[in-house]
């Protein structure tokens, strides 16, 4: 039986975490993908080019426009019969939708896998990544969310899959979409960035993010992230948060500035290839995971760094 990957996309196209989910799915069998939304012919065409994908299922209906969990889960359940595994990246949408679909299928989902051992056995981080559990599922069908940072994404092009329309699934409309506030940024997205520079409570306010971090991000083509403390204090919006309960990232280079290195923060970034920490406290736990640590006052270090780049 083939495996089904539910795609995440927005106006800019298919999200990179979905390409990582396809890479995970390819270890399990032939890959079909589901594009659900309203007016998604363009996305479907792009999905057909993803290497390794043999079929694109398209559900084009206003009911799917905002990927609300209730209609999405019903749709997935209506298609599930043909698939051994159903996967989605562990994005906000994947985490919202897939467990709901799993419950309707009477399946215990396997959340946020970081490795595939075999068709039934998967590795997943627990306790904020302080332990890795290898779990084996006894369910006939597997419903899985994928930790994108753990799988190299497949390229955006190279394949030629068939496109097939699927019917809208029945769903009682008990939820509706009212609106959204999406942060606008010229920067790359955190989950797709090659370089990330994150600030913590040490930044003191939002203006300092703009004045000291943004110019460096600009020079490095980096995404900007933050600790929970910086988000809670209102320096930056919630979607900047990196950590156990924010975004999980693994860029080539992660620069942590004025962040102490609480386990919940480390959980979101300790798989980065190279970690740089700037902190005035030489005993800050962040230095234990940093490849390069610089003890110093960020208000001196950041302007110097900007000049040196």
């Amino acid at each position: 039986m083939p495996v089904l990957v539910v795609l995440d996309f927005d106006a800019e196209g298919i999200k990179q975490p979905s390409r990582s989910a396809i890479a995970a799915a390819a270890k399990l069998g032939e890959v079909h993908v589901l594009v659900a939304g309203s007016g998604v012919a363009g996305v479907a065409a792009a999905a057909a080019k993803l290497p390794g994908v043999t079929k694109v299922l398209v559900a084009d209906d206003a009911a799917y426009a905002h990927h609300l969990a209730e209609p999405m889960a019903s749709l997935i359940v209506s298609l599930a019969g043909n698939y051994s595994h159903i996967l989605q990246a562990a994005t906000a949408s994947g985490k919202n939708v897939l467990p709901r679909a799993a419950a309707l299928l009477d399946v215990q989902p396997i959340s946020d896998i970081s490795g595939v051992v075999d068709a039934d056995t998967f590795i997943r981080p627990i306790y904020a990544g302080n332990a890795l559990a290898t779990v084996k599922s006894a369910d006939a069908k597997k419903v899985i969310t994928v930790r994108a940072a753990s799988f190299d994404p497949v390229p955006a092009e190279g394949g030629a899959a068939a496109i097939e329309k699927v019917a809208t699934a029945e769903n009682e409309a008990k939820s509706s979409y009212l609106g959204e506030e999406i942060s606008k940024s010229e920067r790359p997205e955190l989950t797709a960035a090659r370089v990330i520079i994150s600030g913590g409570r040490g930044m003191q306010n939002g203006e300092n993010f703009a004045k000291l971090i943004d110019p460096i991000a600009e020079k490095l083509g980096a995404a900007v992230g933050a600790s929970r403390a910086a988000v809670d204090a209102g320096y930056v919006p919630n979607d900047y948060q990196v950590g156990q309960t924010g975004k999980i990232v693994a860029p080539e280079l992660y620069i942590a500035v004025g962040i102490s290195g609480a386990i919940q923060h480390l959980a979101g970034m300790k798989d980065s290839k190279v970690i740089v920490a700037v902190n005035k406290d030489e005993d800050a736990p962040i230095f234990q995971v940093a490849d390069y640590g610089l003890v110093g006052d960020l208000f001196n270090v950041l302007p110097e760094l900007e000049k040196a780049l």
């Binding site: 302080n130 009212l178 959204e180 940093a290």
Partner: protein, 249 residues
């Protein structure tokens, strides 16, 4: 409207967990246990809704070993009215937890269930979504703002790009994100009062729920440790190392 809040006893978030040497799990013996932080937020939200006159009664439910009573007592001290312990020594997965919560929610006739978005031990982030599915109720996950009125809930959700607002017909399931509220500390008088509040105990079998796990843990291991790094004296050295040694800029 009655509210149900699910509270889980977990290893305290300040504890650095250790993997057992036989790789069967993590060391929980002698480790400080607390209410899952997201569940404190769930209890706080329910108590605020009661203070506003939107909720009439708050029932705190926990599924787990006898000591989960302590977690329920914490919820009662924060302002929940009574507790239900579904006692089991088995490791219950989110699917089984959701099945149990469904039965409790239906028995109690609640207008909404509030849960944490994830438990910080197993990090599954699944139970609320599964409960909503089993009940056929709509879900508002990762909530950073909740408005409950007769008939409907308006929930602002933390999503990858920012915030999204949805409207749900009640009854509904809501899961809490970090910024929904700041949970109160229980005052001493309230802790004393909580001792007199009722906690009823049930078994999963009383609710006709089969808790047999679907997942078997084959092993639990330490993640690979990072090689220890170096301290650099100044910005010039840092930039030089990033360019020539790490080759990342």
């Amino acid at each position: 409207m009655k509210l149900l809040v699910a509270v889980k006893r977990v290893v305290d978030y300040n504890v650095k967990v250790r993997v057992k040497s036989d790789k069967s799990g993590v060391e929980t013996a002698g480790v400080k246990m607390s209410m899952n932080p997201f569940d404190e937020i769930a209890v706080e939200e329910a108590v605020r809704l009661k203070e506003k006159g939107v909720a009439s009664e708050i029932i705190a439910v926990s599924i787990g070993i006898a000591q989960s009573q302590e977690t329920i007592r914490t919820a009662l001290a924060m302002g929940a009215d009574r507790g239900v312990l579904v006692e089991t020594d088995a490791a219950v997965e989110p699917l089984a937890v959701a099945k149990i919560l469904k039965e409790v929610a239906l028995r109690e006739g609640v207008g909404a269930v509030i849960l944490g978005k994830q438990a910080i031990d197993d990090d599954m982030n699944a139970t609320g979504q599964m409960l909503a599915a089993l009940l056929g109720w709509p879900q508002g996950t990762f909530a950073s703002k909740v408005e409950l009125a007769e008939g409907a809930a308006t929930v602002t959700r933390e999503v990858d790009g920012g915030l999204e607002t949805v409207k749900l017909a009640l009854p509904a399931v809501i899961t809490t994100d970090l910024r929904l509220n700041e949970p109160r500390y229980a005052s001493l008088p309230n802790i004393m009062k909580a001792r007199k509040k009722e906690i009823s105990t049930l078994q999963p079998a009383d609710l006709n729920v089969d808790v047999t796990p679907r997942l078997t843990t084959i092993s639990v291991s330490e993640p690979p440790a990072r090689k220890s790094g170096v301290k650099v004296p100044d910005v010039a050295t840092l930039v030089e190392k990033l360019r020539n040694e790490a080759k990342v800029i």
